[in-house]
Symmetry: C2
Subunit: 194 residues, 2 copies
């Protein structure tokens, strides 16, 4: 479960507002036995989570298309984690700062050391919540299609088309100061099996 959460870049956060469910994509980090999420202090999602509303956070890694011999047995290979619970807001400044660092490090390991730390104003503009991983479950599908026995005789190509999230060449900011090359944590960025 930890390896799935550590490989993912985006989670989908579910919460309810007046009976209507919402599903919002956002970055996150696994931080020990908690999952931390951040955003604007004005965000409806973060207000709901900070208020202790029941939440569901799902991380999904798509590994491939499963191409079967029948419509019915088509599937996907994937790994996913679903976390249920009520989040708690992190307000203590030093813990909050470390949680924000954890999110940047989760996305781009090695990044935090070189960048400007948050100011007091930025800290106030940001809300951070944590969700314990106590109530979490993982689902994984791997391997070839599981066709009906009779269908194996059909003259249909079947198998898996593996998919990977892969980095392309880094694009330098147009305003980048002269002489700055992308550092190893950018040029060497890889994720999971990518």
């Amino acid at each position: 479960m930890e390896s799935i959460l550590d490989e993912g870049l985006v989670c989908h956060v579910g919460f309810v507002d007046e009976g209507q469910p919402f599903v919002v994509p956002t970055t996150y980090a696994r931080w020990g036995d908690r999952l931390v999420i951040h955003g604007s202090a004005a965000s409806r999602m973060l207000k709901a989570l900070a208020a202790g509303a029941p939440a569901c956070v799902t991380v999904t890694l798509l590994d491939g298309l499963v191409l079967a011999r029948s419509t019915f047995h088509h599937s996907m290979n994937y790994r996913s984690v679903v976390v249920l619970g009520r989040a708690i807001e992190i307000t203590e400044p030093e813990e909050k700062r470390r949680a924000l660092d954890a999110i940047v490090e989760h996305v781009a390991p090695g990044r935090v050391a070189g960048v400007r730390a948050p100011t007091e104003v930025e800290m106030r503009a940001t809300r951070v919540v944590a969700l314990a991983l106590d109530e979490a479950s993982a689902k994984v599908r791997t391997g070839p299609p599981k066709d009906d026995e009779a269908d194996y005789a059909l003259p249909v190509w079947a198998g898996e088309l593996p998919l990977r999230l892969q980095p392309l060449e880094p694009l330098a900011d147009p305003r980048l100061a002269a002489g700055l090359a992308p550092p190893p944590h950018v040029t060497g960025w890889r994720r999971g099996r990518g």
Copy 2:
């Protein structure tokens, strides 16, 4: 909005059961002005959706990491669509069959013509629901980081690391009949900018 839905492979479906939100990843298809979702007739999610429970379906395409000069301005480039509404079950056999075909075609265009169609038993074991795209919104972030003016002078590499979901070599089913090569819809499978 349609181009985002057409490029995505997995959606995250939000629904509420006794006050608890759930977020479940699943395949889908945009089918004209509706989004269709299928699964086991026994699935809790599909039962809730078929019963007309308020739902939220989110499709997210991750395009890149936005690496800024400060922790605060780190971000992601992405395209997402959020659809709200109440689904309607598709029960008319011919419409249901076409909806199931649409889901396979969405994932692997060109696939349906060659595979075995659903049997009566498979049709009964499958539930299909459709959600109108009436109440839908898209969000898109592109481009380089937006740093604080003073931070542009920092000696920090900044820019975007583009990410793409790319296919690897197809893996033939170990039980594949001799002499079957992967067809063009497999060897030529591409998605969006990938």
